[in-house]
Symmetry: C2
Subunit: 153 residues, 2 copies
DNA sequence: TCCTTTTGTTAACTTCGGCTAACATTATAT
DNA sequence: ATATAATGTTAGCCGAAGTTAACAAAAGGA
């Protein structure tokens, strides 16, 4: 198990990879509001845990394991974010900051319950959640969309 | 501003004071699952911040400031707890653990939104929240009860 | 009273996650 | 091609929050 702080680095790296096609120490530092040496430390720890491949001055690449974990972390983040923004009506920016912090402390169990709840609420409002970072809908929404389509046929 | 960890100590001490009529290092350590030296450190920090009065081997007493802060912390905890238990349907024990962690990271603004939301939900279900640690209902529920009584008259 | 147990304190160490300062490497522009 | 700028690395430090081991003080029972 890696720490919540390391999870945050991993998540950020995953997003940067998707957004920019590469992961650079400087960019991670900017996104995380920290210094480059801190990023460097994180990289080495993540490497120790086989979550990424790296050697000095080289390319940073998440391993399969790293990517899978990043996706899981991101999904948790998105669920909390959605709740804060669309249910509690926090401003996008605040929801973002708060989601990060909350997601970092809660268990999978709570995330799951929250996911269920939020989807129920959105369902009542006939909305989809907009989880799309992986170019696909989240598990719950895929099911809902399928149900909806079945109805219309 | 004190750290979230110190807030947790303060909250625990406040509760122990209410429950036992006094605050002892050993009891705090038990409640917080930590060692006595850790509690000792916390006491000294809280003293530095004028949140409690203490001298070696003496009585631990929260100052007015300390008590006010403790109440605020506790209210935040209760709001999150209620949400987890009564809205997300987590088991009491889990809700307790998670609430502690979540409360420790979110802003007042988020707590307020959550409070509003939870009270709206409970209102729909015609329930009161059971915030009673201070032998009084929480601010929102007092208002609601008043409204309800007004209706019945 | 005095011995034992419980309670509280101190000192020194650990881990984590951050930092700065200084340096090494790579990329860029002229 | 080389000087400059940008990027990445290393070393050493810091504070927070915890720990263990050893000791001091207070409380209680015989």
């Amino acid at each position: 198990m890696i720490s919540k702080a390391l999870e945050e680095y991993l998540k950020t790296m995953y997003i940067l990879q998707k957004q920019n096609g590469n992961i650079r120490v400087t960019d991670v530092a900017k996104k995380m509001n920290c210094t480059k040496p801190s990023v460097n430390k994180a990289i080495n720890h993540l490497k120790d845990h086989h979550l990424l491949d790296y050697e000095s001055y080289g390319k940073i690449e998440l391993t399969q394991e790293g990517e899978d974990l990043a996706k899981k972390i991101l999904e948790a983040y998105d669920i909390v974010y959605l709740f804060l923004k669309d249910v509690l009506n926090l401003k996008a920016e605040e929801a973002q900051e708060e989601a990060e912090k909350i997601k970092s402390v809660i268990t999978d169990q709570t995330i799951n319950q929250l996911a269920k709840y939020i989807h129920k609420v959105l369902d009542l409002r006939n909305l989809d959640c907009n989880y799309d970072i992986n170019q696909e809908k989240c598990r719950c929404c895929v099911k809902r969309t399928a149900r909806k389509e079945a109805k219309h046929e």
